[in-house]
Assembly symmetry: C2
Homo-oligomer: 231 residues x 2
DNA sequence: ATTTTAATATGACATATGTCATACCTAATT
DNA sequence: AATTAGGTATGACATATGTCATATTAAAAT
């Protein structure tokens, strides 16, 4: 996490996402811009979250770890969202992990400041209720999909959501650059079955193997297979 | 849904659940007490919710129906909770179904009144943020459990959560009185597999068949099998 | 009384997924 | 060079779950 001292850029994000409009009070002066490198954690389960964040650019994944050590993907954010909302209200440590899967920018307001000014800001509280409601709605929807669709569909969706676009000799290639064991845990399946399902996607022409890694071969095929999960 | 004109009872609920303490304004005068018979709907997907409800006694189940017609259990409420919170914020119709599975009492405030007074009530908005945060936390947790445990465990939990306690010749018996097809849908499984799993629970001594219906034979066995789901 | 319908139940088989043993490769360690 | 460890890959088999055909029973409709 690196603080970016770029007033212009901060202003740009505030304008683009109309962040000023969600507060009664002008608290622009308390806002700081932060950069998270790909793979870096924005918050970790069990740890205090030092800032209330407004996610403004990049992509993050949210996952939970269970008491038996297994972890499971909850969802992705790739559009404007609040991070740290639950922690702000409950003064409890985070219950989920939030990890950047692309270089990511967040606007942060320190938790003390946020609690001091925003817990009395009607406009913001309303916004937060709406935001939490949205999250809850998406969560219950994803939950259903997880239970009702086999891994093949969820994996296709996961690849499209997390695959890294790279330029490879002029061609744009989407690669799966993550540890396969971790992917299997996030998708709530076994390593064995994950590999099996990768092979099925290869058979169906959605992906290919290259240099010991997987790459997207046909985005359309994957799109058809992915049933709007993790949206 | 029947309006109960019993000031005393209403007062009792307000006191017990400290409902007055979650508002800055005294809005007791707008509160009405409602009774829902077992199996009755408190809200239905796609329909407007006419009241903001405070669930105070009984038990309800929340489930979602998917575009392909399948439905899936989200959770149960058997403790003080808000119903209609998301609808109040977003002025959208309900996205979930809420159905009483026991005789249930809710305190209701008409949506107009709620929007008029409560959208400016800081204390209430804070409470609502906390409440939505709790729901989100539980949802993501249940979601994980659903994916990580087989039906046997989920069914055991479901039976304990929804089984009806009846007095049968002096003995207390817990019966499963619901339509089995519906149960299978709520648990996100096939009818065939549900029956199979009932039979497994019979083999393990957790339940027995009686008069063509299933009954709990050994609560402890079921408790061990149910991994804290739907709590 | 007969027919129809809905709910319950089961066998047979197919598919989805988990577990375990093991093998291979590469990078790090000794 | 030999050893170790982590990540990747696969076969064999077991378990979990889905699909389909079909039987049975009880309640509802005619």
């Amino acid at each position: 996490m690196i603080k970016i001292n770029d007033k212009r850029r901060l202003e740009k994000y505030i304008l683009n996402h109309r962040i000023n409009e969600i507060f009664d009070n002008d608290i622009k002066c308390f806002m700081e811009l932060f950069y998270f490198k790909r793979n870096e954690y924005i918050c970790k389960e069990g740890e205090d979250v030092p800032y209330l964040f407004f996610f403004v650019e990049g992509k993050v994944k949210i996952y939970i770890t269970m008491s038996n050590g297994k972890s499971l993907l909850i969802c992705f954010y790739d559009d404007f969202r609040i991070i740290g909302d639950m922690e702000m209200m409950s003064v409890k440590p985070a219950t989920n992990n939030v990890q950047a899967i692309q270089d990511t920018y967040c606007i942060g307001i320190s938790m003390e400041t946020a609690r001091k000014y925003l817990l009395n800001d009607v406009k913001f509280l309303r916004f937060m209720c709406g935001s939490l409601g949205d999250k809850l709605d998406k969560c219950s929807n994803n939950c259903s999909i997880n239970l009702l669709y086999p891994l093949e569909n969820r994996l296709a969706s996961y690849i499209l959501a997390t695959g890294q676009k790279l330029n490879c000799n002029g061609k744009s290639v989407i690669k799966i650059n993550e540890n396969l064991k971790e992917i299997s845990e996030l998708l709530g399946t076994s390593y064995r079955h994950l590999i099996r399902t990768f092979n099925i996607l290869i058979e169906k022409g959605g992906i290919i193997k290259n240099n010991g890694g997987y790459e997207v071969a046909d985005e359309e095929i994957l799109k058809k297979l992915s049933a709007d999960l993790y949206k």
